[in-house]
């Protein structure tokens, strides 16, 4: 990776440190007292937790990114050493990057792969000029693809760098197509090779990450509830313990629990209990006063329902069992109260536009029971498909009113024990998961007598077979949940907005020594942030200036130099833009460390601009030497700031309140000062 330095574009005139020295400095600054502090720092809380999940092979779900990064950390932990030396930084004095790299967080891994992707693409582009299809060429090309998929695999934000690399590769490919010295076949080969390395390989690797992830975490854990019943059943322990050995096909007489597929606000099961709807609601509307039907987020004996054939009396499964199929008319009998699931033209308690769902109680007041439901298997393959445990997603359509059984998402008031409201949706405006249910627990009912049946309901279901989902199905479901899981947009003490990042108007306190005031902050080296920002602005200005002048056929730069200038800008300034601007559109809680990938690209741009100014804008030797000395002054200034802020980066020294106050250069920095 350090070979990146050797590219003519980046080597600066004044800092002629050799590669070895740089590596040494980089390693030193990052590994310095790495074992310190021996306490959990900030998000290490979460990531450490995830790692221990890996160690215990427990399933978990994190909305921020795919599992690769977590796995990598776990691997690092597993090998007993922390892999902290991957972050290379030319300047070697960037406080924020050091802080972030030293601690066990994902950003540094992401930055590493981002840079690796860009570097190997540049290497590849170079070897493209010399010897296409050579071993080197293939190596760098594949490495680009792999680094990209690793970056995406660490955090979804990596996708922006991937897109950037793809875009640059696309432009290059377009030029290749326009190269008429190449034969058609050769162009085709080039395109296919790129497609394979940059599209197919990353996709496969991404799948591989999930494959390893799902193989590793095969036990149920705290995040099971978010996933579908089928997914849960595929994990060891948890639901699988219950569902194993259940009969697959639901038959007349089956005892089932019905889980809502949508499961928001919380996953829950169709439920009923002895209490009835209040005669009159608080707002004066009336109800049917029949038995409540709700959705209940906990396992309970009242979640059991019996599927009954309307034409026959018994509540047990006949021998042989008669399976229920798509389109069949069924009745659902509540196991503990033996009342029938019913809906009628009465407004639901909280959603007056929908129908109330109740368990029918015959008050003999000319309100007949309407308890026939048509089974509609949503994910059926044929129209005669059998209702399957866990696998079938069904809608229950009321025969009389064509209302669909639906979880409205509202919490009932105290009279409904704060359980969730279930309604009959009359105007079914298309498919929505809140109307879809699946059987989770299932057994063939054997007891005709109510007393025996109650006993049967209380006893756990038998088990003998396990039912496994294919990898692709599990992958797709997990992927979908990861992308759609909503993190609560709670504000955090150290959260910040993207606008604060460029000017470093924010900091994150990572750790405070329990007794002294030694502390670790994520805080940038303000000189470097400012100059990196400046470099970006200068680059943009110069770029447009040159572009406009070239348009008028005034060529300030030789062609090769211009192309390098554009490429460097596209990768570095582009890398900054794609890693920064999308945050403006995101609605989640943002922290300063989200900016670090962008910052890395910005810092890469800095030497490019310095070099350019020295080579092309400082015409006279005098100017050049003045500029050189300015750079040296700037560099020592950066070093000085680094040194000053060092206690906050390493947290190795306890500072007096006075010193801390002196370090608080900006009012917005949250430096913790103990009150004694």
């Amino acid at each position: 990776m350090l070979g990146f330095l050797e590219r003519p574009v980046v080597v600066t005139a004044d800092i002629n440190l050799n590669v070895v020295a740089l590596t040494a400095v980089g390693l030193l600054s990052r590994l310095w007292q790495l074992a310190y502090p021996r306490a959990v720092v900030f998000d290490e809380v979460y990531y450490g937790q995830y790692i221990s999940f890996y160690m215990k092979r427990i399933f978990f779900l994190d909305g921020s990114g795919p599992p690769f990064g977590h796995m990598l950390l776990a691997l690092g932990g597993y090998l007993g050493g922390f892999d902290g030396n991957f972050l290379w930084n030319r300047i070697g004095a960037e406080n924020a990057l050091i802080t972030q790299a030293r601690l066990m967080l994902l950003e540094s891994v992401l930055i590493f792969f981002n840079l690796l992707a860009v570097l190997s693409y540049l290497k590849f582009a170079n070897s493209q000029k010399q010897r296409p299809f050579s071993l080197r060429w293939w190596f760098w090309l594949t490495l680009t693809g792999m680094a990209c998929s690793c970056a995406v695999g660490v955090k979804y934000v990596g996708v922006f760098t991937y897109l950037l690399v793809l875009a640059v590769a696309g432009v290059h490919a377009w030029h290749l197509i326009g190269d008429r010295t190449l034969s058609h076949v050769r162009v085709l080969c080039h395109l296919l090779a790129r497609a394979a390395a940059l599209l197919v390989v990353p996709a496969l690797m991404y799948l591989l990450f999930f494959y390893v992830h799902l193989t590793l975490v095969c036990r149920s854990g705290p995040h099971d509830q978010i996933m579908s019943s089928a997914f849960q059943a595929s994990l060891e322990g948890g639901l699988a313990r219950i569902t194993q050995g259940q009969p697959l096909e639901v038959a007349y007489g089956s005892q089932v629990t019905l889980k809502n597929v949508f499961g928001k606000p919380v996953p829950c099961w169709l439920h009923s209990h002895q209490s009835t709807y209040p005669m009159i609601y608080e707002n004066g509307r009336g109800s049917s006063h029949q038995q409540q039907v709700t959705c209940y987020p906990f396992k309970d004996v009242n979640n059991w329902w019996i599927v009954k054939d309307p034409g026959r009396h018994p509540l047990v499964v006949s021998n042989p069992p008669r399976p229920v199929r798509h389109g069949d008319i069924v009745q659902l009998v509540h196991g503990m109260t033996t009342r029938f699931l019913n809906t009628h033209d009465v407004a639901a308690p909280l959603s007056p536009h929908s129908q109330e769902v109740s368990c029918y109680v015959d008050y003999n007041i000319s309100m007949p029971s309407q308890n026939l439901w048509r089974l509609d298997i949503v994910n059926r393959e044929s129209d005669t498909e059998v209702w399957k445990t866990i696998l079938s997603e069904v809608r229950l359509v009321h025969v009389n009113t064509s209302a669909v059984l639906k979880l409205s998402g509202a919490h009932l008031p105290d009279w409904g024990f704060r359980q969730l409201e279930v309604v009959g949706e009359k105007l079914s405006r298309g498919y929505h998961e809140s109307m879809v249910w699946n059987v989770e627990e299932h057994r063939y009912g054997k007891s005709q007598e109510q007393k025996e049946r109650e006993l049967e309901l209380h006893s756990p279901a038998q088990m003998d077979v396990s039912r496994n989902l294919s990898f692709m199905a599990r992958f797709l479901e997990l992927q979908w949940r990861m992308l759609t899981v909503k993190s609560d947009d709670s504000e955090h003490k150290y959260s910040s907005s993207p606008l604060d990042w460029v000017t470093l108007d924010t900091s994150i306190a990572y750790w405070l020594h329990p007794r002294t005031s030694a502390q670790i902050h994520l805080l940038g080296n303000i000189v470097i942030w400012a100059s990196a920002g400046l470099a970006t602005a200068v680059y943009a200005l110069l770029f447009f200036w040159y572009l406009l002048r070239r348009r008028r056929c005034i060529r300030d730069l030789p062609e090769g130099c211009w192309l390098r200038w554009v490429l460097a800008g596209a990768l570095c300034a582009g890398g900054w833009a794609v890693n920064y601007l999308p945050f403006f559109l995101m609605e989640k809680t943002l922290f300063l460390y989200h900016y670090l990938p962008a910052l890395t690209f910005q810092i890469l741009l800095l030497p490019v601009v310095l070099q350019h100014v020295a080579d092309h804008l400082c015409r006279s030797p005098l100017l050049r030497s003045v500029f050189g000395s300015l750079v040296v002054a700037w560099y020592s200034c950066a070093c000085h700031v680094f040194n000053t802020l060092r206690p906050l980066t390493y947290g190795d020294r306890s500072l007096s309140p006075g010193e801390l106050r002196a370090l608080r250069w900006k009012d917005t920095w949250d430096i913790l000062i103990r009150k004694y």
Binding site: W174, G178, G409, K493
Partner: protein
């Protein structure tokens, strides 16, 4: 058809021309103007040829107008088309089509196709007649049964109501800019509607109220979409059949038809979008005559229409992006043209800045000026706006009011959240329920004026009545420690380390104490934002924060709605995060203190820019507030192009008069197919060109139309469609219609090109002509027939629903998700 084939033949005949020497020269301008018409199918070939032949002697300095396109081949012997390569397909395709090395053109075809002067006039008349026919058909379909149903349909309840507000001059709030509703109001006013109809809910009968003026106005604008599309496509492709096809697609689309027939913003919005597109394309055609009268006319018309589009809905921003992109690339080419001096380029730039930025902004601002001038009475929108804003509205209690200026101890005040649409600090005699923090009196914010919003400012350490005349007046100053006592219940504003009811990370705020005696948790430090300690606190103008003394948290409101027990008022919390956000800033609105002199509130009168800014802030907040609910079915952007599900405009049951907004599936699916086909064909051609493949002249011309004209339309479609994927607000099916207009125009161009390409590949001209005509006719007739099938969707259905075999629509429910 005739025109098309004549052009086809003209193209072939013209190919025998000698190669064009390349260069610059003074003759160019007139030549280009000539060339402009030669492109037209109806232009006589003779004159066209004459023009071209005369040109071959043009001197060497004539590259001026050829700003666009690839560099011409290095040698002068290249095809003349390279020199004449057009700016984005304005007229060039025909030129390039007309020239080329294909010398095999049949001279035999030449003589019969040379039209006389009379026939030229005849063709021009024919062209006008065709336009008239298209327009007429469009008006006929849109105005047919416009009065049906005579009750409120769908969003008419909003926009009709807002039209009435303009007529009654009462102030209201809406998330869209005012122009569309103002026009509706104007149309109603002019047609004699008196603004008395209440527009309460969909389904209400209009009875004697005159609603036809407003519907007629919308239908009028909606009808104009078709001729606009026709002219745009004609301008882009120079092909009458393509234009005709696009116009037919739009005329026969039940969705466009339905959307144009009611009092809605969409016909107005689409009118401005299409008008802007048309004038942009027209102005592109004038590019060879910069600064001429038509050039200025179309340029400024573009600007005016942009202002219109943005003034109706913020979606108008997308067409602004399109015009902006077009302008930038245009300027870029002008700038690259070395024959133009920098000063000339500067003039071009200035003209565009004037017409496309300054003019639209002025007009847009002017609509707001009119809006605020017309709506000068207090109405339902007051509460959304700040106190200063409300003081403008007659009928509002802040209008012409006078109150004491500086806060003093003993003053009775109301405290309003600075953030809009949150309301006043409020408390009432109800406790927080069991299990939610401490069981003390609730404190909320409430949007409406109420006695329970009144608070008394007291000193933190004494309970003496400061209004006692024996005490001197003591002003409250920035940094003072105060106590706020609720006037009705005599409880103090209080906070403590219990979590707030909804925002768990904040502290709970309650009313505590008896008759003003509480504890030290009732003490708050009052601070004015951006002022020095010790300053007095001004009514309305001071932005204040209340900081809880014991916990150090700031009084704020999360904007979350409390459940039933809190009467669905908004949550008030004390936030430990001290960042200065609008959530924690308040101002004092009402102020009663008999010991202080009153001053007039006119000093507060906000300036026009302030009002403008504030109303935009409120609109943006309103738009962001329209979030979809989790457990409801919502329309997703990917549903739209496949016509997945429509919208019920009127009626549900089989006895109702039902109108269902749904695109004509034949048209929509053809559009969808065309986009895919276009992308495929476009990439193939682009790659072929990039590989240096030598296209025959005919194909070259067609591909120019396809890539440039079609490209603009594809861009329009993408700009009006893809941004919706990023929007968090609730979306509806009708949001797709602007994009659908572009997609229909693209379909017209694509199929015309594809048919011409097929025809070209056939050897015999007779067969070619036949197949072209047959293809076009089948498309036109197919669309018309599908309209015949689906027209009840738009014009209304009564009787059984479509799943019933007795229904007139039986068998037409091609997708399960269509519920008509």
């Amino acid at each position: 058809m005739l025109c098309a084939t004549s052009r086809l033949l003209a193209a072939r005949t013209a190919t025998a021309l000698p190669a064009q020497p390349r260069g610059r020269g003074p003759g160019a301008r007139c030549r280009r103007r000539e060339l402009h018409f030669p492109g037209h199918p109806e232009v006589p070939l003779g004159e066209f040829l004459a023009g071209r032949l005369a040109r071959s002697s043009v001197s060497a300095s004539r590259r001026a107008i050829l700003r666009r396109g690839r560099m011409p081949p290095a040698v002068g012997g290249g095809p003349a088309g390279s020199e004449l390569r057009p700016r984005r397909g304005r007229c060039g395709p025909q030129v390039t089509r007309a020239v080329g090395p294909d010398v095999a053109a049949e001279p035999a075809a030449r003589s019969p196709k040379r039209p006389a002067r009379g026939s030229r006039r005849f063709e021009a008349a024919g062209r006008w007649a065709l336009l008239a026919l298209v327009t007429l058909l469009s008006f006929a379909t849109r105005f047919h049964r416009l009065d049906e149903p005579p009750h409120i349909c769908w969003d008419e309840t909003h926009f009709g109501k807002m039209g009435s507000y303009y007529i009654n001059r009462t102030f209201f709030f809406d998330v869209h800019p005012p122009l569309g509703k103002m026009l509706i109001g104007l149309a109603g006013y002019l047609s004699g509607y008196d603004g008395t109809f209440l527009f309460q809910k969909p389904g209400d009968k209009y009875e004697h109220h005159n609603y036809m003026g407003m519907r007629g106005f919308c239908a009028f604008l909606g009808s104009l979409l078709v001729p606009f599309a026709y002219l745009t496509v004609l301008e882009l492709s120079r092909s009458l059949p393509a234009a005709l096809l696009s116009a037919a697609l739009l005329t026969f689309d039940t969705g466009c038809l339905t959307l144009s027939q009611y009092i809605l913003l969409d016909p107005i919005l689409m009118f401005f979008i299409m008008a802007a597109m048309l004038s942009m394309v027209k102005y592109n055609s004038c590019a060879d005559r910069p600064f001429s009268a038509p050039w200025w006319f179309w340029l400024s018309l573009t600007g005016i229409n942009l202002a219109g589009a943005l003034g109706v809905k913020f979606v108008g921003l997308f067409i602004i992006l399109q015009v902006g992109w077009n302008t930038i690339s245009d300027l870029w080419h002008l700038f690259g043209d070395l024959s133009l001096s920098v000063v000339t380029v500067g003039k071009h730039l200035t003209a565009r800045v004037l017409c496309l930025i300054v003019l639209p902004l002025t007009l847009y601002t002017a609509t707001y000026a009119v809006h605020f001038m017309v709506l000068n009475k207090s109405g339902p929108g007051d509460g959304f706006f700040s106190s200063a804003f409300q003081a403008r509205l007659s009928g509002n209690n802040l209008h012409n009011a006078s109150i004491p200026e500086h806060l003093a101890y003993g003053s009775v005040i109301t405290v309003k959240k600075l953030r809009m649409a949150i309301g006043y600090l409020h408390s009432h005699r109800h406790l927080y329920p069991e299990g939610i923090g401490a069981r003390q009196q609730q404190v909320t914010t409430y949007l409406h004026k109420d006695y329970n919003n009144l608070w008394i400012i007291k000193k933190h350490n004494t309970n003496a009545d400061p209004l006692d005349p024996s005490f001197p007046v003591e002003f409250v100053r920035h940094g003072d420690i105060i106590r706020l006592e609720h006037k009705e219940t005599s409880r103090n504003l209080h906070s403590h380390y219990h979590e707030a009811p909804l925002t768990r990370k904040h502290y709970q705020v309650t009313g505590y104490g008896i008759n003003g005696t509480g504890d030290s948790n009732d003490f708050w430090r009052i601070e004015v934002v951006n002022r020095k300690f010790g300053n007095r606190i001004k009514v309305l103008r001071s932005r204040i924060r209340l900081i809880h003394l014991v916990t150090g948290c700031v009084l704020g409101s999360s904007g979350k709605v409390l459940p039933k027990w809190g009467w669905e008022q908004l949550e008030v919390t004390c936030t430990p995060y001290l960042k200065e956000t609008l959530n924690s800033i308040w101002n004092v609105e009402d102020h009663i203190n008999p010991k202080l002199p009153n001053i007039s509130l006119d000093v507060l009168h906000p300036t026009f820019p302030e009002i403008l800014l504030e109303s935009h802030m409120v609109m943006i907040r309103g738009n962001n507030g329209l979030k979809p609910k989790d457990n409801e079915f919502t329309s997703k952007p990917w549903h739209w192009p496949i016509n997945y599900q429509g919208l019920r405009f009127s009626g549900i049951n089989d006895t109702d008069f039902r109108v269902y907004l749904l695109g004509n599936p034949v048209v929509w699916w053809l559009n969808l197919l065309s986009i895919v086909l276009y992308v495929l064909l476009g990439s193939i051609i682009a790659i072929a060109v990039q590989r240096g493949a030598h296209l025959p002249a005919e194909v070259e011309g067609l591909s120019q139309v396809l890539l440039q004209g079609g490209g603009q339309l594809l861009l329009g479609w993408m700009l009006h469609y893809f941004p919706f994927f990023l929007m968090g607000r609730i979306l509806y099916f009708h949001h797709y219609f602007p994009a659908m207009l572009f997609s229909s125009m693209l379909t017209g161009i694509l199929w015309d090109t594809v048919l011409q390409l097929c025809a070209w590949s056939l050897a015999s001209p007779f067969l070619a002509r036949g197949m072209y005509a047959a293809g076009l006719l089948s498309l036109l007739l197919g669309t018309a027939y599908s309209f015949y099938l689906f027209h009840p969707l738009a014009y209304g259905m009564v009787g059984p629903l479509a799943q019933d075999p007795r229904s007139p629509m039986a068998g037409l429910r091609w997708l399960e998700s269509w519920d008509f």
